[in-house]
């Protein structure tokens, strides 16, 4: 095998899995990781728990301290990539240094969307996607005599940040533009339940509005004014309306973008030898059969693994991403897998709902096949639904059983069970 130079931009979930996949198939090649952050790979999805002190440093590191040495990876940390020169096979760093590659993977993730809000420039405004963001926000809040925060955006990141702040004793109000929170993961009924639970735990939530301006007195944040005219007093504003793929540095490189970097089912971009994975990549959506960015951990890691493998020449195809998330607020759990929101009865969709006390479960079928599952406060064995969705099998015959608490493999066709239980996983 030729001696290859692999360069990976980004040091998070996709990057780590790409490193592991490359080393599985190529023991000799050079691997270099470039990251604008200075940290060893860490758990980006746990920064809210780090902020409020529930977890410490040891739980934040995603891999052992000797991970890079064991995989013989050269790290260039604290450096951003500012450009790519595909004709020369080089990436350009923010100190003008150039790093050559034979195979490149872009896994630069997402960056917070920061719309121009009047008065937003200056101290007291925060975003919340990196470890440093969490540290900076924590330190700021601790300095406030009466910490009061407005979190703009009731998506997953906004709500997790709000919970973390609440645990720190901050008075928190969430402002969400949509009619309910978590619009991407939940249906309206589930979202209302989550919202009530959050309110019961002391968070204030305003829906159907957004922040129009941030008020400052001598530069210090004193409050925000909402579109609906309402005014809220606060000294801290967190902007978490969403992230967009971090692709700015690809300008002029010829790499094709849509919302994210477009990749084929080998995770390769339109330029041979350049791959992309994770929240920056736009790859096939398993259910909808079209390209989309699905910014979740299992998609990032799987894409990283497949990209890494293909970079070594060991061919692997991406089976398509399936949106899914597990999250908890103040101890209550929710899992959402696949499509639980879009339901068109004219296109073969059907929902099955079980709503008993604390537990709310919903299955969504399309032409008899399971395409989505939502479950609140009962998530035992929920992953089985993941394999049913992936198997695209007709389950209309067992519709009445699918949401029962003791639903399992014995309710499923023998052929499927055999395939699952008698063969290596």
């Amino acid at each position: 095998m030729e001696h290859r130079k692999y360069v990976i931009i980004g040091n998070s979930y996709a990057g780590v899995f790409a490193i592991e996949a490359i080393r599985r198939h190529d023991k000799e090649g050079d691997i270099t990781v470039v990251s604008r952050e200075t940290y060893h790979a860490y758990a980006r999805a746990a920064i809210h728990e780090y902020m409020d002190g529930i977890i410490g440093d040891s739980q934040m590191y995603y891999r052992d301290r000797d991970f890079y040495e064991r995989h013989r990876v050269t790290t260039i940390l604290g450096r951003a990539v500012t450009g790519i020169e595909p004709r020369e096979n080089k990436v350009v760093l923010d100190n003008r240094q150039k790093v050559g590659f034979d195979r490149l993977m872009i896994s630069t993730g997402g960056i917070p969307i920061t719309p121009p809000i009047e008065g937003s420039a200056g101290p007291g405004m925060f975003t919340f996607t990196t470890w440093d963001d969490a540290k900076i926000l924590r330190d700021w809040v601790k300095k406030q005599k009466e910490p009061r925060a407005v979190v703009i955006g009731g998506g997953l990141i906004g709500l997790q940040c709000a919970e973390g702040l609440k645990h720190m004793g901050v008075d928190v109000t969430i402002v969400e533009l949509a009619d309910y929170v978590l619009v991407k993961a939940l249906d309206q009924l589930a979202a209302h339940r989550v919202q009530k639970w959050l309110e019961k735990n002391g968070l204030k939530i305003i829906t159907g509005s957004t922040v129009e301006s941030v008020n400052r007195v001598k530069g210090v944040v004193t409050g925000v004014k909402l579109k609906n005219g309402e005014k809220l007093k606060c000294n801290t504003v967190v902007l978490s309306i969403g992230v967009r793929p971090n692709t700015g540095f690809t300008e002029g490189s010829g790499i094709k973008l849509s919302r994210g970097i477009l990749v084929d089912n080998g995770m390769q971009t339109n330029i041979e030898g350049i791959f992309a994975a994770g929240d920056v990549a736009e790859a096939e959506d398993f259910l909808r059969k079209r390209q989309d960015v699905i910014p979740i951990i299992p998609v990032a890691t799987m894409q990283g693994k497949i990209a890494g493998s293909n970079m070594t020449g060991k061919k692997r195809a991406y089976p398509g991403g399936l949106p899914q998330n597990a999250f908890q607020f103040f101890g209550k759990n929710t899992v959402s897998i696949g499509n639980v929101i879009y339901i068109d009865k004219n296109d073969g969709f059907e929902e099955i709902i079980r709503d008993e006390g604390d537990v709310y479960k919903k299955a969504v079928l399309q032409y008899g096949k399971l395409v989505g599952i939502l479950s609140m406060n009962y998530i035992t064995r929920i992953g089985i639904y993941n394999s049913i969705i992936r198997a695209r099998m007709d389950i209309s015959g067992i519709k009445d059983k699918i949401l029962s608490d003791n639903f399992g493999f014995l309710d499923l066709p023998e052929g499927f069970r055999d395939e699952m239980l008698t063969k290596p996983g």
């Binding site: 951990i297 035992t380 992953g383 399992g408 699952m420």
Partner: protein, 148 residues
């Protein structure tokens, strides 16, 4: 690598595998004490499904492409590069249940350790040559095999 496979045609839902699993993962290694006095009471890492006339016992398959490892937020779940086994470090676990969501076999369960929510799953009994559930099964409805 060797993992535990169920043979459903031989399973009679006697649940001895669950008892053996709980005992093996208890502090006292005594089934009665493990069930009655240990706090937290260990939970079985295999689960017997019983829908007469069918029965089957299911636990972690230590997948080649482990979806739990791919979903894990902070590296609590990893593959041991030497043994190939999927290991779960409860001291590190955040109880985020991404693995519970991802596992296609539904065999990662929720547990409480030192008042923290943590994931729990089959570790193939690292201190035994043959996992406790396989050793105890009276019908050879569980086998420890390499089906590569």
């Amino acid at each position: 690598m060797k993992v535990v496979y169920p043979r459903e045609q031989w399973c009679v839902a006697c649940n001895l595998c669950e008892v053996a699993c709980i005992t093996e993962h208890s502090k006292t290694k005594d089934p009665l004490k493990a069930y009655l006095t240990e706090k937290p009471r260990p939970i079985s890492r295999t689960r017997v499904e019983y829908k007469p006339p069918l029965a089957v016992s299911i636990m972690c398959r230590h997948c080649e492409e482990a979806e739990c490892v791919e979903a894990c937020k902070n590296g609590t779940l990893t593959r041991n590069e030497i043994t190939g086994r999927i290991e779960l470090n409860q001291d590190k676990c955040l109880g985020c249940w991404m693995c519970v969501m991802a596992c296609p076999y539904g065999v990662i369960s929720q547990f409480t350790k030192d008042d923290r929510p943590v994931a729990n799953k089959c570790d193939l009994c690292p201190n035994r040559e043959i996992p406790a559930c396989v050793a105890v099964c009276p019908n050879r409805a569980l086998v420890f095999e390499d089906r590569g």
